[in-house]
Structures are given as structure tokens and as C-alpha cells.
């Protein structure tokens, strides 16, 4: 391993170090605020490192990792998500007066896992990243063990994740058995030379079960709503964004190296999964009264949309997918930010009716949430629109009419429940409930500011996606 490779790995090392830092800080019995701030600093440091080492990219670190523009983008996105999640976590836990310190260890570990996924080009690193992510998530989900059925959610996630991990491993083993290598590129070459054998396809199919589970594709989606509901909102935000970004990016990389989309059968499976996810996700959300479950179902649908961009397996599709991930993450952070900030000391702000008339009480929050919902629905002026537009464009370009038409139809169904939520925000408020908050004003304002910034980011992405698209294309070295 030479110096340049080490340099390229620097951000990931910082990321790994951040959990150690937190452990140390806990050992020194420092306060939540200090931990929070230092965690924030560590994440910023990661970003700075990424900036510093940008010239060394792209760089392979054989045999496990490759750090390229794609990885830089997704890792950056994950770190960005974690920055926001950290902020929400502070408010959430400060309000609950729980002991939140170890939480940050898990959070940063999970981040590391997701980040490793984005750079892995080998089954081993894939597996390691995925397990770091998963095992941290079990802890995160069940962290508030006495509330909200968190333990139940944690156990459900654990059991299913372990189960699907077994599928993942078995699939990997089959592929390894066929090709004699666990490196994506080598497998890809093998496929090019001798095509997909039955065992190979079987292996990939089984492997997909695990991926499908993590991304909550239909029919592996059943856990999503329960876990989203049971986990603390910041963790839910993390699961919905960072964890899925990591897994989706490895899927993209894997698909890209093997040319999965060229295989008729796999293509059919992907199309089917995409269609089923879009339909089932949106239909499930239709009458949902719990906003966390609603977002869970909506995320099922959204990853169905993403698969439409994945299907063509070309550069435009990839660009579209990355842009979609970006806009989706920003949007979901907004939504979960609101849920976090609205959650009281006793109960999470889960029920949709809780938000009734929010606009007339706290207009800023309501506007942020409305913008987020509109963005999820893919309405212009928000990030969701160019994202959906690009996904559609890549689908249309590849003449994948059935998924595209399903996308359109289900978007309309989806619009219904987003509008329902927005509508409730603008209803006449019920009588004033005295919501007293004793938070450090700085964090209070910081959250408001960050939510506003996120909202502006949504609008900016919606209005001027050009720069970001160009940026993504540069990172992918398409130009």
C-alpha cells in the first residue's frame, strides 16, 4: 500500500477514528454537547479530508477497495446525511434526557459501514461494510429500549438482516464457486468471456435477496414500516438515507462491473421488482396515518423508481440514480428533521393528525415539510422533480416503457398521500397545545437553520440542477 493509496483512504480513516474519539470522550465523561460538537467536527474533518485528497482520485486499493468519483460522491452524501442526523439526534436525545453518548459510537460506525460499501469492489469488503452497517443499526434501532417498541423493531431488523446476510453469503459463495474470484472486476471479466452460467445466476439471484432486503424492495419490504416506526426518528432518517445509499451504490457498482442489466433474466427480475415496489409501496402508503410508516412505504416506492434508473445500466441511468439519491436524501432529511423537532418528551410525532394546522402555528416547519412532501411527489420547484425527470429520461431513452408507465401511474397514486399530509398542515389548527421546549438555544436555532438550509437546498436542486448534474458527470468522468 503506497502513500497515495493511504491518502485516498484518509477520509475513511477519519471516519473510523471518529467513533474511537467518541469512545474516548465518553471515557473522560464529557457531556453530550461536547460529544455532539466533536462528532460534528470529525464529520467536517472527513469532508475536509475528502477535499484534500481529491487529486489522488480515482485510485484502486487492491484487492478490496476502489476510491473513485462515484465513491467520493456517495460517501460525501453519506457524511452529509450523518451531519444532519447528528444534529437531529442531539435535539431528540436532549429532549428525552436519555443517555445518548454511546449512540454516537454506533452512528459513526454505521456511517463507516455505509461508506465502506460505497468503495467496495470485492465481496469481502462488501460483506464487511454491510455487517458493520447492520450490526450498528441493530443497536441504533433498539437504542431507546424502553420506548416506542424500539426493541421489537430492533429484533425484527436483526433477525431479518441476519437471515438475508446468510442469503448474501450463500449467493456470494455460489458466485465464487463459479468464477474463482470475489473481485467484481474479475467476475465481470469471467462473465464477459463465458457468460452467465446457471449457478452464477442462481448465486446472483440469492445475493439479490439481501440487497433487496436492505433497500426494502418488494417482496422483501415487510420489515421497513415496522422498523421505521420503532426506531428513533434520527435513526430512521439514517436507515432511509445513508444505509440505503451505501447499499444502492454497491448494487450500482456491482451491476456496472458485471453488466447485470444485459442478462435478460436478471433484467426481468429487476423490472419486476421495480414495478412491484412502485405499486405496492405507493398503495401501502395510501391511507397510512403514521407519518413514519408513510415515509417507509414511500421509500419502498422511491427505490422502485430508482431501479428504473438502474435498469438501463448506462451512464445516464447512473447519473440519474445518483442525482435521485442526492435529492431523495436531502428531502427525507427535511421530513425526518421535522418529525424529530416536533417529537415531544413522551411521544414521537408520528400520527399525521399531530401535524394538523402546523402551518398556522409554526409556518417555517410546515413550509419545510410541505416542500419535502412536494419533492417526494416530484413536483417542480423542488429537487424531486429533476430527479424524477432524469429517472424517466433514462427509462425512456432505453425504451423501458412498462416500468416507466408504472412509474407515472404510481406517482399519481403517491401524490395523493403526499397531498394528504400537506393538506393536514394547512388545516385549521386544533386548540393550542402548550409545547414547551427547554433546549440550548444554539441547537434550537441550528436545527431551524439547518432545516431551512435543507429546504433551500431542495429548491436549489429543483431550480438549478444543472451544476449538480455537471458535477456528478465530472465525478463519474463522463465528460
Amino acid at each position: 500500500m503506497n502513500e497515495l493509496e493511504l491518502q485516498a483512504l484518509l477520509p475513511f480513516m477519519v471516519l473510523a477514528a471518529s467513533s474511537l474519539v467518541v469512545i474516548l470522550l465518553i471515557a473522560f465523561r464529557l457531556s453530550h454537547t461536547v460529544i455532539q460538537i466533536s462528532g460534528f467536527m470529525m464529520m467536517c474533518l472527513t469532508v475536509i479530508c475528502m477535499w484534500l485528497v481529491r487529486d489522488t482520485l480515482p485510485r484502486e486499493i487492491p484487492p478490496l477497495l476502489v476510491i473513485d468519483g462515484f465513491a467520493a460522491f456517495t460517501t460525501g452524501l453519506i457524511v452529509f446525511v450523518v451531519l444532519a442526523v447528528g444534529l437531529f439526534s442531539y435535539i431528540y436525545f436532549e429532549e428525552r434526557e436519555e443517555n445518548p453518548k454511546e449512540y454516537y459510537i454506533l452512528l459513526f460506525l454505521a456511517t463507516l459501514g455505509a461508506a465502506v460499501l460505497t468503495v467496495s469492489k470485492h465481496f469481502i469488503s462488501l460483506f464487511i461494510g454491510l455487517e458493520i452497517l447492520s450490526i450498528s443499526l441493530y443497536g441504533l434501532i433498539g437504542y431507546l429500549r424502553n420506548r416506542n417498541n424500539a426493541v421489537e423493531a430492533g429484533l425484527k431488523y436483526l433477525m431479518l438482516a441476519a437471515l438475508t446476510s446468510a442469503f448474501l453469503l450463500f449467493g456470494m459463495a455460489l458466485v465464487y464457486l463459479e468464477t474463482g474470484s470475489m473481485d467484481f472486476a474479475v467476475i465481470g471479466r469471467h462473465v464477459q468471456s463465458s457468460g452467465f452460467s446457471v449457478l452464477m445466476i442462481l448465486g446472483i439471484g440469492i445475493l439479490l435477496v439481501a440487497v433487496g432486503f436492505k433497500l426494502a424492495f418488494v417482496p422483501f419490504h415487510l420489515w421497513a414500516a415496522d422498523v421505521y416506526q420503532g426506531a428513533p426518528p434520527p435513526v430512521t432518517a439514517f436507515i432511509a438515507t445513508a444505509s440505503k445509499i451505501g447499499v444502492f451504490s454497491v448494487l450500482l457498482r456491482f451491476g456496472q462491473s458485471l453488466g447485470l442489466q444485459n442478462e435478460q433474466l436478471l433484467q426481468g427480475i429487476f423490472s419486476f421488482i421495480a414495478i412491484a415496489s412502485m405499486i405496492v409501496g405507493n398503495l401501502l402508503a395510501l391511507r397510512q396515518q403514521n407519518i413514519k410508516r408513510l415515509l417507509a412505504y414511500s421509500s419502498i416506492a422511491h427505490f422502485g423508481y430508482l431501479l428504473v434508473a438502474f435498469l438501463p445500466g448506462n451512464d445516464n441511468g447512473e447519473t440519474a440514480a445518483l442525482f435521485y439519491l442526492l435529492s431523495y436524501s436531502v428531502t427525507l432529511l427535511c421530513a425526518f428533521g421535522i418529525i424529530t423537532i416536533m417529537s415531544g418528551t413522551k411521544q414521537d410525532a408520528e400520527s399525521v393528525s399531530f401535524y394538523q394546522g402546523l402551518f398556522w402555528k409554526q409556518p417555517i416547519l410546515a413550509v419545510v415539510l410541505s416542500v419535502a412532501m412536494l419533492s417526494l411527489a416530484g413536483i417542480p420547484l423542488t429537487a424531486g422533480f429533476p430527479a424524477k425527470f432524469m429517472v424517466l429520461a433514462s427509462g425512456v431513452e432505453d425504451s423501458r416503457w412498462i416500468p416507466v408507465l408504472v412509474l407515472v401511474a404510481t406517482s399519481v397514486i403517491g401524490l395523493y398521500y403526499y397531498l394528504r399530509v400537506i393538506g393536514i398542515l394547512f388545516e385549521k389548527p386544533e386548540e393550542e397545545t402548550a409545547a414547551t421546549k427547554v433546549l440550548h438555544p444554539f441547537f434550537y436555532y441550528a436545527t431551524y437553520t439547518s432545516l431551512t438550509v435543507l429546504m433551500l437546498a431542495i429548491c436549489w436542486l429543483g431550480l438549478f440542477p444543472g451544476n449538480v448534474i455537471d458535477g456528478i458527470r465530472q465525478l463519474l468522468q463522463l465528460e
Binding site: I379, L381, L392, V396, V412, L415, L419, G423, D470
Partner: protein
């Protein structure tokens, strides 16, 4: 540059009136009114400036272009021709009146109301000006959201249902249009080697007849839902019925017109052969709309729903005219857009004023209003007559031209459509009779129009009469546009 100012002015004024509304509702309304009137004056000035050049010259009177998303060949491209100018005049005229209508009706959260109103208008302005298809779609959707809020927040009892229904219907069509746009862009990219969403570029795309038909279908469906064409009209009575007065006025007066505008600007221009191949069916849809809308209008017991169904009927004429491929009918269509905007807008304004006074939309609870409100009765009579196509008033010119033009294309359809005039008389007279005639009920004793309402209705009355007696300026404005259309389908 002035084109972009028209949009920015409204967007800005919208935000301003929202922010300032905490202090004073009137201030918010004042800002809104000032902005819209400023836009109206700007547009009138444009009209005066370009009036000599309507007849000749290139396609566009004015253009503004800036890069937006270069990676996809998307630019911020606005352009003005006679058709857009006519529609803009209508937009700002009705916009100003919509603000005036809301002056007293909206007491709560007025700032946010005017914000939505202005943003809707800005979206509509954008739709009429955009000639980059991405931008067009963008504005197409942008005008929906604030409209949704207008209905959802300030609407009547069934407002939630109506608002969501409205949004879902239009969105369904919109997304199909987006697909069509994308398909077209990608085919064009295959031919020209680069992405472009520009109208002028896409016009030159060569499509196989089958593809052209499919792609056109997407556009047509979107516009047909907006127009609306039976059987895609179901959002309209609910949305119109439940919306606040200004909302109904803008919905009926302007939003529907964007559908017609789209048909003229995109469907017929970009897919002349495909449009011609379905023209008979489209005309049939128009005719069905005329008759079916009239039947439903007659059956209603709710004043605003009744007026809403008359729109379905009147927009059937637009469909009939647009697809008859005759210059005369096309002139009539544009005229119909203007006059229907004015006449139906006026009827909605009247319905709103009645609702302010009686707190009901039920026809059964009205009656004899002419006795207590002679001024309103007279004006209502005028617009009823406009709606049933009485000569002297603009609607007649429009429908006359449409029918006369369509007659060249299909005699049977035109004859059936003409019977729509009889049905129009049926529902119009029933409406007037139920509301204004008959014995006055004691509870209906109320006051006649005040000065503000008189200004609103007076302006509408004068304009509908002027359009009926001096329609030529409008025809001059659009002749060139329609000639260009003719070239494409000859």
C-alpha cells in the same frame, strides 16, 4: 427581458405580500393588485408596441433565452407571439379582477392567499410564454401547487376532496405529457446528436406516424384533462365549485385556457399529421363535451357546479374548433378562450358575490334576487346571454367562427354541436330563473353591488361587449400565428 420581469414581478410581489400580511390584510391585497396591474400595463404596452408588426415578420415578437441545464439542452427560453400576448392580456386582466374579488371575501391569512394567487398567475404566465418544453412543463406544474392551496385552504366544505382531485387529475395528464416530451427529445437527440428541449428544434424532428401518434397522445391527454374534455372533466366541477371566488375565476378563466393553448401550440403544431389523423375523434370528443356538459349543467342544483359544467360545454367548442383545421375555427378558438374566460369568470364572480351575501350556493335557496339587486341582476343577465352565445357579445363571435370553420370539416358533428346552443339556452335560462327571477324570498333581502364589485363586473361587461362588437384587434393579433399553423399542416 421584459418577459422575465412579468414573471419575477408576480413572484416577488407574492412573497412580499405574504411577508407583510401580518400587519395588514389590505396591504397584501394592495401589493397583489399593484403587481398584477403593473403586469397588465406592461402587457398593454407590449400590445401597443407590437400592434403594427402583428401581420408580418418572424414567428416571435420577442424572445428571451438563457441556459438552464445545459447537460440536457434545457434553456430558460421565453418567447412572445400574438397568441401568447392575447392570453397574457387575459391573464392579467382576470388576475386583477381576481384580486379585487377577494378583497373582502378573504379575511383570514390573506397574505398567504395573495401569495398563492400571484404564484398561480406567474405559473400561468410562464406557461403562455415558455417555448422550451422542459420549462413549459415546469410552469405547467408550478401553477398547480398554489392553486391547490387556494382550493384546499380557502375553499368550501368539500374543499379537501376537490383540491386533491384537481391535483391528481392534472398531474396524471402532466406526467404523461412529460413522458411524451422526453420521448420526443430523445428521438430528436438520436437524429440531431444532442439533447434539446427547444420548441424550434423539436419541431424539426421527424417521427414515424405511429410514434408521432403515441407521443401526441401524451400531450393531448394532458391538455384534454386540463381543458377539460369529457370523460376527463370530473375534477372540474368539484374544483370550480369548492374554490374561493378568485380561485374559480382563475380556474375557469385561465387554467382551462392553458389546455387549449397547449393544444394549439404543441399538439397541432408539432404533430400535424398525427393530429389530423385523430381529428375526427377529437372533434367528436368536443361535441360530446358540448352536449354532455350542457346536460349536466342543467341538472345541477348548486350554482357554482352549474357554471362549472357550462365550462365543460364551452370547452367542447374549443376542441371542436382546434381539430377542424380551419383558419376560421382556429380564430374562433382563440376568441373563445378570451370570451369564455371573461364570461365564465364573471359568472363565478357573481356566484361568489351571491355567496358572500347568502352564504349558500344552492339554487333552491335563491330566487327573486333581481328585485333586491337590480344591478347585479342586469349584469348577470348580460353574462347569461353571453354564455348562451347571444350576438353582440364576444362568445357569439367565437362560437360562430368555430362552428362555421368546423362546418367545413365535418357537417354532422357541427350540426350536433350547434344543438349545443339550444342546450346552452336551457341551462342558462334555468340558472337565471332560479337565482334572479321568481318571487323574492324574505330571507334574501340584501344589498346591491358596491363600488368595488361594480368595478369588477363593469370591467368584465365592457370587455365582453367590446369583444363582441370590435373583435378585429384580437383577430389581427393572432392571424399570423394561425397562418404559421396553417403552413405546418398544409
Amino acid at each position: 427581458m421584459i418577459l422575465i420581469w412579468l414573471i419575477i414581478l408576480q413572484l416577488g410581489a407574492g412573497i412580499l405580500s405574504w411577508l407583510l400580511s401580518k400587519r395588514d390584510n389590505r396591504l397584501a391585497a394592495g401589493i397583489a393588485l399593484t403587481a398584477v396591474i403593473a403586469c397588465l400595463l406592461l402587457t398593454i404596452q407590449l400590445f401597443a408596441r407590437f400592434r403594427p408588426s402583428f401581420a408580418g415578420g418572424g414567428q416571435w415578437l420577442m424572445e428571451y433565452r438563457a441556459d438552464w441545464i445545459p447537460a440536457f439542452g434545457i434553456s430558460f427560453h421565453l418567447a412572445l407571439d400574438g397568441l401568447s400576448l392575447a392570453m397574457l392580456l387575459l391573464t392579467f386582466f382576470l388576475g386583477a379582477l381576481a384580486v379585487l374579488c377577494s378583497w373582502k371575501e378573504i379575511r383570514q391569512r390573506a397574505g398567504f392567499f395573495y401569495f398563492n394567487l400571484l404564484w398561480t398567475l406567474a405559473g400561468i404566465t410562464g406557461v403562455f410564454l415558455a417555448i422550451d418544453l422542459f420549462l413549459f412543463y415546469f410552469f405547467w406544474e408550478v401553477m398547480l401547487i398554489p392553486m391547490f392551496f387556494l382550493i384546499y385552504i380557502w375553499g368550501d366544505t368539500r374543499r379537501r376532496y376537490a383540491a386533491i382531485k384537481f391535483f391528481l387529475f392534472t398531474q396524471a395528464g402532466g406526467l404523461l405529457m412529460l413522458l411524451s416530451i422526453l420521448a420526443m427529445v430523445i428521438i430528436h437527440a438520436g437524429q440531431a446528436g444532442r439533447y434539446s428541449f427547444d420548441y424550434a428544434d423539436l419541431l424539426n424532428t421527424t417521427l414515424s406516424p405511429g410514434t408521432a401518434k403515441l407521443i401526441m397522445g401524451g400531450y393531448l391527454l394532458a391538455f384534454a384533462i386540463k381543458l377539460p374534455v369529457v370523460p376527463f372533466h370530473n375534477w372540474l366541477p368539484d374544483a370550480h365549485g369548492e374554490a374561493p371566488t378568485a380561485g374559480s375565476l382563475i380556474l375557469a378563466g385561465l387554467l382551462l385556457k392553458t389546455g387549449a393553448y397547449g393544444i394549439i401550440r404543441f399538439v397541432i403544431t408539432m404533430f400535424p399529421e398525427a393530429a389530423a389523423s385523430v381529428s375526427w375523434w377529437a372533434m367528436l370528443a368536443g361535441v360530446i363535451g358540448i352536449i354532455y356538459g350542457a346536460f349536466l349543467a342543467y341538472g345541477q342544483t348548486d350554482l357554482k357546479r352549474l357554471i362549472a359544467y357550462t365550462s365543460v360545454s364551452h370547452m367542447g367548442f374549443v376542441m371542436l374548433g382546434a381539430f377542424s383545421f380551419s383558419e376560421m375555427a382556429m380564430q374562433g378558438v382563440v376568441m373563445q378562450l378570451l370570451t369564455h374566460g371573461i364570461s365564465t369568470g364573471a359568472l363565478f364572480a357573481i356566484a361568489g358575490m351571491l355567496k358572500e351575501r347568502l352564504h349558500t350556493r344552492e339554487l333552491g335557496r335563491m330566487g327573486g334576487m333581481w328585485t333586491t339587486m337590480p344591478r347585479m341582476g342586469g349584469i348577470a343577465m348580460l353574462f347569461t346571454m353571453a354564455s348562451l352565445g347571444l350576438p353582440m357579445l364576444g362568445n357569439f363571435i367565437a362560437e360562430f367562427f368555430i362552428l362555421m370553420g368546423a362546418f367545413q370539416a365535418s357537417v354532422p358533428l357541427t350540426v350536433i354541436a350547434s344543438t349545443g346552443l339550444v342546450f346552452a339556452a336551457l341551462y342558462s335560462l334555468r340558472m337565471v330563473q332560479k337565482v334572479f327571477l321568481g318571487p323574492p324570498s324574505v330571507e334574501n333581502i340584501t344589498f346591491d353591488l358596491d363600488a368595488r364589485e361594480l368595478v369588477v363586473l363593469g370591467a368584465l361587461s365592457v370587455s365582453i361587449v367590446l369583444l363582441g362588437l370590435f373583435p378585429q384587434p384580437v383577430f389581427d393579433m393572432i392571424t399570423n400565428v394561425i397562418r404559421n399553423l396553417n403552413h405546418t399542416y398544409e
